[in-house]
Amino acid sequence: MSAPTLSPAVSSAPEAPRAPLTKKVLVADHPTWCPGCGDFAVLASFYKVLEKLNYPQEKIVTFAGIGCSSRFPYFVNTHGGHYIHGRSLPFAAGISLGRDDLHVFVFGGDGDGFSIGGNHLVHTARKNPRMTYVIMDNSVYGLTKKQTSPTSPIGFKSKTDPWGAFDQPINPMRTLINSGATFIARSHATQVNHMVEMMHRAALHDGFSVVEILSECVEFFEGAFDSSIPRKGGSFQTIDLKKNDGSAEDAARHDPTDELAALRLALDPWPGKFGIYYENKSRPTKNALEQKLITNTREKTKNASDLELLSKTFARMR
């Protein structure tokens, strides 16, 4: 029988006692990023997240599309891969749906996620497969050396807009909320603890979880995110989540299950707030829905063997 192994991603545990997962084990090739790139901090935070999660190493999958940030899987010693530009989400959905025992992480940049892969982002969110997607947004095409990206602000001077970009940029949080993703958070590559918390929460979410991390490209868009870096004179404003303690100050806190409140947050003027915008724990994953379909269908066939099923089908063609 070919019924997939099933156990929710969050509850699977190693069969035998094994040494805890450490950064030492998780480090692979030395990153090829430019010195000072924000992506180094994202990678360091991800090691910490994996240490906290302590999944069996062979059950972790790290995948990516194309771009600077998409080199990520080469630097993490887990099963993984480097797919084509913009299509890593449907690829990862295949991994997750076919192998519910795995923990699937996808990394990519703003070009991968919001431009060439924009349609896949919307449809993956709609389907809600169990996996975590980290978008390392630097608001520029870095690997191809400074072209306008879908999140480049108006006025940004690039090789494709030397006079300053004038197309309306994508608002990632607004796009994600509208897409129906069931966990949406925003973080900043200069805030390691915050990144670790957001990615950790995302990994534990039962469904399609997305974390957008502003990660500066020091080579082609230096200072892009200074307005949210306190040591550069900006302010890093986090989202206070509701504690439901009935206190007066709690009324002003954000309820992440409130889609409209999340949208209002997404419409805050730049640089906006950081934290969990939206979380929906009630929508079933595609993994669960497909499994339910399998269980129901197999019950109808009285759990017939593959040979019995196919023989019956051919008998009907006689």
Binding site: Y74, H79, G81, P90, L102, F314
Partner: protein, 626 residues
Amino acid sequence: MVSPIPPSSASATARSNAPLFTIPDVVIRLAGNSQDGIQAVGGFLARLAGRSAQEVMTYMTIPSTISGGPSIFQVRIGSGEILSAGDRADVLVAFYQHSYESHRSSLRPGGVLLYDSDHVTPNPDDKEITAVGIPMTSATVEAVGGSSKEKGKNIYVLGLLARMFDLDVPKLSQLIKERFGGKNEDIVRNALLAFDAGYAYPAENLAHILFRLETPTPTVGGRPQITTDGNTALTYGLIAAGVRHGAGYPITPWSSIMETLRTELPKYGGIFVQCEDEIAAASTALGFSYGGNLSITGSSGPGLSLKMEALGWATMAELPLIVVNVQRGGPSTGMPTNIEQSDLLQAIYGSHGDCPRVVLAPKNVEDCFYIAIEACRIAREFSTPVIILTDQALATRIEAFDEPDLPKLMIEQKPDLSPRDASYKPYPLDQVQRHAPPGSVIGSGKYPTVTGLEHDEYGHPTASPAMHTKMTIKRREKIKSVAATFPAPELFGDQSGDVLLIGWGCTYGPIREALGRLRGAGATVGHIQIRHIHPLDGGLEEIFARYRHILVVEINDEGLYGYGQLATLLRSRYCNPAISSITKTDGLTYKVSEIVERVAIKLGLADTTVGMRKQSLLASALTAQK
């Protein structure tokens, strides 16, 4: 050709409605509109043939509109080997005036026209055929109970044909019950009423056109026959081969494969995902394969183009994948409901870069089942994408064939998560490596990255000129080595001589029939249907050397340089100037006579082909009694 067997005079006088002649095969063309259910009648006839151990082949056209439009279904039934749906019809059933006018020319001289006298007025001066008018519409309405709806006149016609050809009524009734059994009782009852009314049509009006189909000698201990179309056969071939995962996007004529997989795979514990586009479908399928579940994606022409970048990645990353391409008329949206074999070069060379992969082409409906199994074997064994090039004609036509021996053929597939030892390399230069899916512990502690970047043996990106050369050679040699697993190509007809006919895909039947006629006319002719397109079957060079001409029969254009797509490939591979092309692009399957005439012209045999005109036994039977 076999002569008709005249009835003995004694029995002819004893029963006035006894069949006049026993005939070995018949071609019936039903012409109406797409909502008339003529496909259903054709389907019943085909399945009856299958259950009677007869051979059958069908041919249909459907308009690419949502509803309405002229449509035909042609069925050929016989006791001998049926290789094509027949060039011309022995019987034409015309529901409307336009059906009559468009398809009169498809009827052979001496053939029978059955027309609905409520809608059709045939040319009274047409003495070349026997025209029989029957009020099909009003008789059906009368039989079913005056709802004034014409629904059921297809079944009425089935009854008529059952009488005309002395078909097995209990078996047909059973088929009707099975077909409509799931619906409410009234539908089954009405269908049977319509059938009985057609069957009871006064025999004296049909007396001069009653026939009996020869009963084939039952094969002792043979397997039961099944009757199905190519897309269905292919789908269940994949399931037999252990495919439990896949992804697709709707496009004609591929869609029926994905619909069946979507509803069937959950029964087997599997998943089929309908994706947002063709690229996502290829990607999701590759994700399944990466997880250790050999999976399938598919499409038709334009969709295959969209998948090409992902297929290039699959070659580079060395992952197994099955890709079905149901070819249709192109380029662009082209002729979505017509046949064309114009995706061959796209299938082989469509991706960017040097991107070798396996391409197979089934030769008939039965072969759709077996080639799916072969494709899965190759994909697993060589960790490579395999494209199955089928086409609109194979996808939709119905044939009867022996039920596959499932206990012997079925393959169980599970992700191979066995621990890999410390020497494991994802991309060794000197051997074919099977992918280690996530979940497999890697003994060295170094987990592999599958990648589309050029890489070394461990999957690390490299821009080393030497490594790119070595890896390109490795990927090429891997696909070349697949050919060693192919059986020798099957050579029909003369083993050497004037001409070798080469075909691929749905042209198998018409070429085989043409072979018979050309040999009958004195030419020495052989035929090979190439099922393994890339890499090619072994041994072809030596076979080619035995013939003066090698003619490649294809349904595509001769291109800028005068050769069809397979002919181009064969000429480039074998540098044999004897290879030339017979091509066409009318969106239709080859008629046997088209091939015979084109070959005769190529060989300068035009004179000897006179008299090769198909001598239908039905036609001669009709001539004989006049």
